[in-house]
């Protein structure tokens, strides 16, 4: 019997109601919902630049992470969430094959601990499993829907933290010709945002940095072109430079088809190297990252890291393909 099964039994014994529900959001992350500004650092106006035909660096490491969570029990209406996050860095060398360089996992429980009944709380504490308390959002947690949102954010934060730890550790030992490409923003980490060979590749575009003609030019960058480099404003914790890069022609698809945003350290060298770096990044569009639905923006090595992590994730956290059947049949009235 696994530790989680024992815990679940203990929670049920303490009065919690067993549950098995995996929200769809648990398999991905939410978009950033903010409107940010930007400051151009390459020319007075946002323009479009062709890419340079550049060779791919001999060694590139790719970092990605996954998160999984499920409601394992309800104490009254308060969900107790089991979370799992994992991150890995897979390195590609001259063989063109990916091999795992670093990986990390973390399993934990998420619950508004003070709101739980004493017996359930005691069972949680006795389990020995990390518990993330979301009681600071107690007002939200009192409602099951809000409690789930709080749990989702807690799991996401755990993933981001794990990714950051892994990325910083790897970046510290990065070879002189080796690059680190991170799935997501660099600006969460001071070390990464200062590293000369660390790149962040962002696939979601909920945060916008321009308006009017500049926005139009930014979002309609042609295939195999990039925008001018700019300094994003808003949510970024650490200063970075960024630019848009079109991997596939968007005409005939949607506006954001094949569009990624690249982050690199805020340095003049970044501006000078943007077309060259974009050149080899654009080559990463092949092989296609299918069958992932985001293949137009997902670099294949990232897809590889994600596949690797998904394959190693606990199987009981994978959304079931079959319909959800009641676990306990209602007692027939006599």
């Amino acid at each position: 019997m696994t530790a989680h099964r024992r815990l679940r039994d203990a929670l049920v014994a303490a009065g919690a109601v067993p549950a098995s529900h995996i929200p769809e959001e648990s398999t991905g992350r939410g978009d950033l919902l903010e409107v940010a500004g930007a400051e151009l650092v390459e020319g007075p106006d946002l323009t479009v630049h062709p890419l340079e035909a550049a060779a791919t660096p001999a060694a590139v490491a790719f970092l990605d992470g996954i998160e999984r969570w499920l409601v394992t029990c309800y104490d009254g209406v308060i969900p107790i969430v089991r979370g799992f996050v994992a991150a890995a860095i897979r390195r590609r060398a001259a063989t063109r094959r990916m091999a795992t360089a670093l990986e990390a996992t973390r399993e934990f429980l998420v619950a508004p601990v003070p709101l739980l009944r004493p017996g359930v709380r005691a069972a949680l504490e006795a389990s020995g499993i990390d518990v993330i308390d979301v009681s600071d959002k107690a007002e939200q947690a009192a409602q099951p829907g809000r409690a789930l949102e709080a749990a989702r954010r807690a799991v996401e934060n755990a993933r981001v933290a794990l990714e950051k730890t892994l990325a910083e550790r790897h970046a510290a030992g990065l070879g002189p010709e080796e690059w680190l490409v991170v799935d997501g923003v660099l600006s969460e980490s001071a070390a990464l945002s200062r590293h000369p060979r660390a790149l962040g590749v962002i696939k979601s575009h909920a945060a916008q940095y321009f308006e009017g003609d500049a926005l139009t030019r930014a979002l309609t960058v042609p295939d195999q072109h990039r925008s001018s480099v700019f300094r994003p404003r808003g949510r970024a914790r650490h200063e970075v430079y960024s630019w848009y890069l079109r991997l596939w022609p968007w005409e005939g698809n949607d506006l954001l088809f094949g569009l990624v945003r690249v982050e690199a350290r805020a340095h003049a060298d970044t501006v000078a190297a943007a077309s060259r770096v974009s050149g080899w990044l654009a080559r990463e569009r092949a092989p296609l990252a299918t069958p992932d639905r985001r293949w137009d923006r997902l670099l294949y090595p990232m897809h590889d890291v994600e596949t690797y992590l998904r394959a190693r994730a606990p199987r009981d956290l994978v959304p079931p393909t079959a319909s959800r059947l009641p676990l306990a049949l209602p007692r027939r009235a006599s």
Partner: protein, 659 residues
């Protein structure tokens, strides 16, 4: 926890794969699937061991042995279209992508053995390891006959995979009887695999046939060129062959005892074989049969139209009542029929007697027309099989009753016409069977090697005596110790009962059309491909103990290959009659001077010389020349020719007169 990769922490035998099972590809008691790294030594035919991980309480899990029967490779590519899109339609660019797609090597294996065997369960999803020597023995259930109180293992070849060379043994009880018997080997021609495999296996049998099973010999029909003509001569082996011999515990030596038999050519003095080089011809015995040897098998030589019930009855009469005994022809004459010539004298006496007695229709209940017909057909045999069947000379036969253990008897009928081949097959096999039944052969078991079964035991076509004989061996031989090693190019064209009764089936490189026939449906496409491209020296073997066919590699036989043999020992040209007689006499006694023989046979009728020579050969006297002289008898001078008559002038010479 953060794990740094690079150093392996495995202990013990490193697994090379893991069993996987899905709803679509589940593991069953007879089949399982496993994956390996892309770079692996595993291939079709490899034997693997699956270890079930215990529950950590120290108990051993289930162990399953399997042989790889199929292989799959695929990537994470959803559809080929995505590859085209990724490469923008340019195949060259596909190879330039910075990352290689994830690939898998997935293997399908058929279960060879499970431990424990009961209860029989699906293969556990455990780790997969490469089999070692002991595993191969376990997997193929060889432990039962290799490590028993009376081992019966016969080395066949080496199972090779990833640098491992594990000996594979056949069970003598299932190869040479009594549990099962017979071996059938098929494969395309020209690769020297079939003959070589049989030569090696015979050598292995001779060296490893268990003493408690008695004495074994082999009788090989050489039906093609010089294939089996040099079994006593050493062939060339390389280091790899010698290593394989050592691994198999077989001494790389040519056969120590080989006896060659070949009929004469039509001239009756030159042997009809390619082993006629002066250095070797001395140990080829002529195979010569007379009436006694042939009469019981006359049906082989006569077609169905000849052998009606009446003729058959008359031949039986001759065989039972006439041949080899004093016989009164009913007209006052007494005959002792031992040769075709004697028989013809009897026929003449019968016809003369009937004519003189005024009876011309019946003799001893047989109609004269039947007698004439049988006479005609029988007297024709020695003409049709000239060189093999003699009219009036003594015969020279295989050493019936004196077969020696671990000796190969080669009967070279490669250049004999098909009728003669049929006769040789039928008579030799019949004799072997009868003598083995009576335990009167000199050995307890005989391996009969027949190549070209397509020709001699075809699946279709008219019933022939040869096919009947081969069917008889196949179906009843194992009880007698009469074991058929048959070879052919197309197994599908050999009689089903002949191949079906072979307990051990060996396949060399196969023709793909042949592999498409129904008999090969049990093989996977991958196994068929491997069979179609099998290198020389590699075979696929089925044996009663092996649940699945296994691939083995055998060393080249340590004997001179036929083709090399005729280069090293080119056949001698046919000698003139006198020289051929001299050579045979000198063979009997090296002290004989050629001129003495030539003087003796000068002006003598060739038939008389042949008869005397055959008698001398048969008697093996201490003084062959004296015996030959006596057998030849005194030369009877031809009667002096009468004085030529003077021509008689015509009574009415043609003159100038007009009348």
């Amino acid at each position: 926890m953060i794990q740094q990769r690079g150093a392996s922490s495995r202990a013990g035998a490193a697994p090379i794969g893991r069993v996987v099972a899905t709803e679509l590809k589940p593991a069953t008691p007879h089949q399982f699937h496993f994956w390996t790294a892309n770079e692996t030594t595993i291939g079709i035919g490899a034997i693997v061991r699956v270890e079930e991980e215990g529950s950590g309480k120290g108990e051993g899990g289930r162990v399953v042995y399997g042989v790889v029967t199929d292989a799959f490779a695929y990537s994470d590519l959803a559809t080929p279209l995505h590859d085209v899109v990724g490469a923008e339609g340019d195949p060259a660019r596909a190879a330039e992508s910075p990352t290689v797609r994830q690939e898998i090597r997935l293997w399908t294996a058929a279960v060879l053995r499970q431990e424990p065997e009961e209860p029989l369960q699906p293969v556990p999803l455990g780790r997969v390891c490469v089999a070692d020597d002991a595993d191969v023995a376990q997997a193929l259930r060889m432990d039962a006959y290799l490590h028993s109180a009376t081992p019966t293992g016969i080395p066949l070849g080496l199972y090779t995979s990833g640098g491992l060379e594990a000996p594979v043994y056949l069970d003598a009880d299932f190869l040479l009887g009594p549990e099962a018997a017979h071996l059938n080997i098929s494969g395309v021609s020209g690769l020297a695999t079939k003959t070589s495999a049989v030569e090696f296996l015979l050598s292995s049998i001779f060296q490893h046939f268990p003493a408690h099973k008695g004495r074994v010999a082999a009788l090989c029909f050489n039906v093609k060129g010089p294939d089996l003509c040099f079994l006593d001569q050493p062939g060339s082996l390389d280091d790899a062959d010698r290593r394989r011999y050592e691994r198999l515990g077989v001494s790389p030596e040519p056969f120590a005892r080989v006896r060659y038999y070949a009929p004469f050519k039509a001239d009756g003095v030159n042997l009809n074989t390619l082993r006629t080089h002066p250095d070797l011809a001395g140990d080829v015995e002529p195979l010569v049969w007379g009436l006694e040897e042939v009469l019981d098998f006359a049906e082989v030589l006569l077609n169905r139209d000849d052998i009606d019930a009446k003729a058959d009855a008359f031949i039986d009469f001759l065989s039972d009542r006439v041949v080899r005994r004093e016989f009164d022809d009913g007209f006052g004459g007494t005959h002792r029929v031992q040769t075709f010539a004697d028989l013809d004298r009897l026929f003449r006496a019968i016809f003369d007697g009937l004519e003189n007695a005024g009876r011309s229709d019946m003799w001893r209940t047989h109609h004269v027309a039947t007698i004439r017909k049988v006479r005609n057909r029988l007297s024709n045999i020695s003409t049709r099989c000239k060189g093999l069947v003699t009219d009036d000379g003594p015969s020279n036969d295989l050493p019936w009753g004196r077969f020696e253990a671990r000796t190969v008897y080669v009967v070279d009928i490669a250049n004999v016409d098909p009728l003669g081949q049929d006769l040789v097959f039928t008579r030799v096999v019949s004799e072997l069977r009868e003598r083995l039944e009576r335990r009167d052969l000199g050995v307890d078991a005989v391996v009969v090697f027949v190549d070209e079964l397509n020709k001699y035991a075809p699946g279709d076509g008219p019933e022939t005596y040869v096919r009947k004989m081969l069917l008889d061996i196949s179906e009843r031989g194992r009880y007698l110790g009469l074991v058929l090693f048959g070879a052919e190019q197309f197994r599908s064209q050999v009689h089903r009962r002949v191949v079906g009764n072979a307990a051990t089936i060996v396949y060399g490189r196969m023709d793909y059309d042949e592999l498409a026939t129904p008999g090969y449906q049990v093989l996977t496409p991958a196994t068929k491909i491997k069979l179609a491209t099998l290198p020389v020296g590699e075979l696929m073997v089925r044996h009663p103990h092996f649940t699945q066919p296994v691939f083995v590699r055998f060393p080249r036989p340590a004997v001179l290959r036929g083709r090399d043999g005729v280069e090293r020992f080119p056949p001698a040209a046919d000698l003139p009659f006198e020289d051929a007689v001299v050579r045979q006499m000198v063979r009997l006694d090296r002290r004989i001077r050629p001129n003495e023989v030539k003087d003796l046979i000068a002006d003598r009728a060739p038939d008389d010389v042949r008869r005397a020579l055959a008698a001398t050969r048969r008697a093996r006297p201490d003084d062959p020349l004296a015996f030959f002289r006596r057998s030849l008898g005194r030369a009877v001078p031809a009667p002096a020719s009468e004085r030529p008559r003077e021509p008689v002038a015509p009574l009415n010479p043609i003159g100038d007169e007009p009348y």
